[in-house]
């Protein structure tokens, strides 16, 4: 089935995951977490009510940035670190399109770090999928700006000595309007988060913990296996108390600004004593973001923060509309300008 046929079908029958698969075979390594993200995306895209021709996937360079090739939408595989400004330009020019960015920890946070912070503060309506595997994969195993201190790689044979970025804190600190975290291995959660990101108007930053089986295998193992996941992660849901653990008997309370882990069975507490998750509270989101820096706390997943505020392209469109209150400027007006003058007497 060609892309063309798929689109035609789109007009007549409900879209399915197959309609969003391009004719190119993914070239990621077997076992790479990227395969899962692609699968979940193909599940979610048909549910968005947007036809493939109105969706664009943009990317930079890196393993994750191959994403556009495997989706039967419009797509551009750009240059290293620069997917976000490309997406911003496209979104400003064509606000009606659904614009997505596939990027990685190196692409977004190292070479593209400047674009990352500025895009977030401007808040164009983009869905940004940051595949974080804490390693450089495509260039074969160098440490990345999210690699943990001490990680031994080909460029850090004695261990990484630079402090990694905390993606959530960086997003919120940059004025981002949406941050969520998901895992490659938890398809259901990932689909929920992807849909939330698509629905959010503004820059939706989704950090996806993604395993690189070749160069940084099991970096997220503590959060991924059935055994350890329940005790090491906490799923945050709007309006619900922060409960976790295999038996749902542990929770998070706030002592001032300090989160503490409590045992609901032993500490004579009920869920009503716990921290209630509020996606609109930037202070709480900031504390959640810092959980990743404290190994005694479970790693939060889900939507940390979602703020409704004007998108860049809408604000610009409003200004343009305002300046056209007295009519759309004509080419004649443009060429004549505002300070033209007439010379009447012709003296030769």
């Amino acid at each position: 089935m060609t892309d063309n046929d798929k689109t035609i079908k789109a007009l007549t029958a409900p879209l399915t995951a197959k309609d969003f698969a391009s004719d190119q075979e993914p070239k990621w390594c077997p076992g790479c977490g990227d395969h899962s993200v692609l699968q979940q995306l193909k599940q979610v895209l048909p549910e968005l009510g947007v036809t493939p021709e109105n969706i664009v996937f943009l990317s930079g360079i890196g393993c994750s940035s191959r994403l556009p090739y495997y989706l039967a939408t419009y797509g551009v595989h750009g240059i290293h670190g620069r997917a976000l400004p490309m997406a911003t330009g496209l979104k400003i020019a064509r606000p009606e399109l659904s614009v997505w960015v596939g990027t990685g920890d190196g692409d977004a946070l190292s070479i593209g770090g400047n674009h990352f912070i500025h895009t977030l503060r401007r808040n164009p309506d983009l869905n940004v999928l940051l595949f974080n595997n804490e390693i450089y994969g495509l260039t074969k195993g160098q440490y990345s700006p999210t690699s943990k201190i001490g990680l031994k790689t080909v460029t850090s044979p004695s261990g990484v000595i630079d402090q990694p970025f905390n993606t959530a804190a960086l997003t919120i600190g940059s004025g981002g309007s949406f941050f969520a975290r998901a895992f490659d291995r938890d398809g259901k959660l990932l689909r929920t988060i992807l849909k939330r990101a698509a629905e959010h108007k503004g820059t939706s930053l989704v950090e996806i913990y993604q395993n690189c089986p070749i160069f940084n295998n099991a970096a997220f193992e503590a959060f991924a296996t059935l055994d350890s996941k329940a005790d090491n992660t906490i799923y945050v849901e709007q309006g619900k108390p922060l409960v976790f653990g295999k038996n749902k008997n542990r929770g998070i309370m706030l002592d001032g600004f300090t989160p503490i882990v409590v045992d609901l069975d032993k500490d004579d507490l009920s869920t009503s004593d716990l921290w209630l998750h509020d996606e609109s509270d930037i202070n709480k989101a900031s504390i959640l973001a810092r959980f990743a820096d404290d190994e005694s706390l479970p790693r939060p997943i889900g939507v940390f923060y979602a703020e409704n505020r004007a998108t860049y392209e809408d604000a610009l469109a409003d200004q343009i509309k305002d300046s056209q209150q007295n009519g759309y400027g004509t080419l004649e007006q443009l060429l004549k300008g505002e300070n033209s003058y007439e010379i009447k007497s012709a003296v030769v």
Binding site: E53, P68, G89, L90, I92, A346
Partner: protein, 628 residues
């Protein structure tokens, strides 16, 4: 002094063809405003005009020092002028530093109007004159006609009852000078009055104070004996009946991009990062929202161009503007635009380099970077503007080529063109070339699959923009298979695509005008081949050489890549070719390499434009050599 108009004493009025005037003072003296007002009046009067501001790169360099001198030069004439004048006939020097910095460019016998307060002990010391020396009175200016005028004192007297603070009064001294110059050149001051009332709409008293100072300067000319011997001058108007506007090169670029977007039926998007001397293009376009223009001040030069690539992919007429250091940062993205084969206009307003170099000074040293400054085989069209008004036509042409040939185009301007201005007879929309985007239409069931890299007879691919049904496709920076656009590492395919991309650019030569001779005989001894902002100086020098009966002609290149098809033939019609450039000899390399000839290179790398006398001297010398 009262505001009442006195009966002017009889002062002789002499007719002159051309005058070049420099207003120079400290950065805080308002010389740019004075020059601009004078230029506006001259333009409306109907004179031919060319202006050039010259200011330090520091916003506020130390007051009174040579580094802090700000100047505004203009030449106005009753015949066409193409430069602000090689030397000035009249210099207003508000202080001793202004005199010191500019005296070398004043004609022998030229007029100096000096504000005496700027020649006090303190100012003389700041300007670096030896203790006890004052050029106004020590005979060192005997070769010039010097008028010491207590400008500040006279302004203060005129405004003593204005109610303004003494600081505000002192700030009006530039208006006194303006009035005096209006008197000297028998120009009307009513236009400036209107401007002042418009500018100080909410502070009418400020407008009135400025006007009073201006009139004080005007009547000072009448009343004083100072100018009795010199008299007044009259430059008769030249311009034909018509509607004109005065534009700088940067304004003209901005107008051209907007006009091209209209003509092509596209929305204009400019992704840009502020950089001297290109910023006014962004500033001007930011004010064009009425025309639907979208500007995006990006976080850096890279985001500036990449956002434009995104907008171009979406179907906008996309552009970015920059200067040398910025173009260097954009080179990787330019390569992406080359391989994506999407339209993009890049305006590079050249300045002195390398590195930060001379940020406020013009140079033509980015030609190599424009032609070759990308990794891999990444050819793209390069065109150059040759005057402030021509910035409009060159930029418009860059947009046309970009859209119709699906390629990034570099349009070269420079700091001289960017800030210079000249009158422009208002252009009619009908005179602008059509621009036709090749949008790929939607595909219906049963249509063959869309091939993003299928080319037409000019090797141009189509523009398939998101939102078009049936054209979903993926492209990127990786090499692509011929026609399908799928990733391909096939050796033969890479060579084929490399050659196709080059051929596409070469074939642009089929649709651009042939090179013409601007002035002079079609065959002869010497051809001056110029490009960019050297136009005015070459034009004037060749005019003068032809008047002397020299066998010399002038051709000026707009299209530097690809060259017009007849350029080789033209170059062969002269015994010698001379190429003046504001660099260390770049076009001369390209011409030598392309046509296997040995042109004479004439270069200047001083951060200032050529003047016509330099070119004329070189022409004279070369012709002498040819004869011997």
């Amino acid at each position: 002094m009262t505001d009442k108009k006195k009966t002017p004493r009889q002062v002789n009025v002499t007719s002159k063809t051309s005058v070049s005037v420099l207003f120079a003072g400290d950065s805080g003296d308002g010389m740019q405003l004075t020059g601009t007002q004078f230029a506006n009046t001259v333009a409306i009067h109907g004179s031919e005009l060319n202006t050039f501001p010259n200011f330090p790169s520091e916003i506020r360099a130390p007051a009174g020092t040579v580094a802090g001198v700000s100047g505004f030069q203009l030449q106005f004439s009753s015949k066409p002028v193409y430069t602000p004048g090689a030397r000035f006939d009249v210099m207003v020097a508000m202080n001793s530093a202004a005199l010191k910095a500019n005296l070398k460019n004043l004609h022998r016998g030229g007029i100096i109007i000096a504000g005496t307060e700027g020649f006090d002990e303190k100012n003389l010391k700041l300007a670096g004159y030896p203790e006890g020396a004052n050029p106004l009175y020590d005979g060192s200016l005997d070769n010039y006609i010097v008028f010491p005028v207590p400008i500040l004192q006279l302004t203060r007297e005129a405004l003593k009852e204005s109610g303004l603070s003494s600081k505000e009064i002192d700030r009006c001294k530039n208006m006194f000078v303006l009035g005096l110059l209006y008197w000297l050149y028998t120009l009307p001051f009513e236009g400036t009055m209107e401007t002042m009332y418009a500018k100080f709409k909410k502070n009418v008293w400020m407008a009135e104070a400025n006007i009073k100072a201006m009139k004080a300067g005007y009547y000072f000319g009448d009343e004083t004996e100072l100018f009795a011997n010199l008299g007044r001058f009259d430059i008769s108007p030249h311009k034909q009946h018509g509607i004109y506007r005065r534009v700088t090169g940067n304004e003209a670029c901005a107008i051209a991009l907007t006009a091209a977007s209209r003509k092509a039926g596209l929305e204009l998007f400019l992704g840009s990062y502020p950089i001297t001397p290109a910023t006014e293009i962004l500033q001007t376009l930011a004010k064009k929202k009425k025309y639907g223009v979208k500007t995006f001040q990006a976080e850096d030069e890279i985001a500036g161009i990449v956002s434009s690539i995104g907008a171009a992919y979406g179907g906008a007429l996309a552009a970015t503007n920059t200067s040398g250091p910025g173009l260097a940062l954009k080179t990787e993205a330019l390569g992406l635009a080359v391989i994506l084969e999407i339209p993009l206009v890049v305006i590079n307003v050249q300045r002195g380099g390398p590195s930060t170099g001379l940020p406020t000074k013009p140079e033509q040293s980015d030609l190599f970077m424009a032609l070759y400054g990308r990794h891999g085989e990444a050819p793209l069209p390069v065109i150059a503007a040759h005057s402030p008004v021509d910035c409009f036509y060159a930029t418009y042409e860059a947009a046309r080529i970009a859209v119709e040939h699906m390629t990034p185009v570099i349009c070269l301007s420079d700091g001289y063109l960017a800030l210079s201005s000249e009158p422009w007879e208002v252009e009619s929309p009908d005179n602008l070339a059509k621009i036709t985007p090749r949008f790929q239409p939607a595909r219906e069931p049963g249509d063959s699959p869309y091939l993003p890299y299928k080319r037409d007879e000019r090797q141009v691919r189509s523009w398939a923009i998101p939102g078009t049904r049936g054209l979903e496709h993926r492209i990127g920076g990786l090499e692509k298979q011929h026609e399908t656009g799928n990733i391909s590492h096939d050796p033969e395919n890479h060579e084929l695509m490399t050659k196709l991309r080059a051929e596409k650019i070469d074939r642009i030569a089929d649709s651009i005008p042939l090179q013409s001779i601007d002035n002079g005989p079609l065959t002869g001894d010497l051809l001056i081949l110029g490009w960019g902002s050297t136009y005015g100086a070459i034009k004037t020098a060749v005019e003068q050489a032809l008047e002397k009966g020299y066998s010399v002609a002038h051709a000026h290149l707009r299209y530097i890549h690809p060259f017009p098809k007849n350029l080789k033939e033209i170059l062969g019609n002269y015994k010698q070719v001379m190429i003046p450039e504001l660099n260390n000899g770049q076009l001369v390399h390209v011409i030598r390499d392309t046509f296997l000839i040995a042109p004479e290179s004439y270069t200047k790398v001083q951060g200032v434009p050529f003047n016509e006398m330099e070119i004329l001297t070189k022409i004279t010398d070369l012709l002498k050599e040819l004869k011997s």
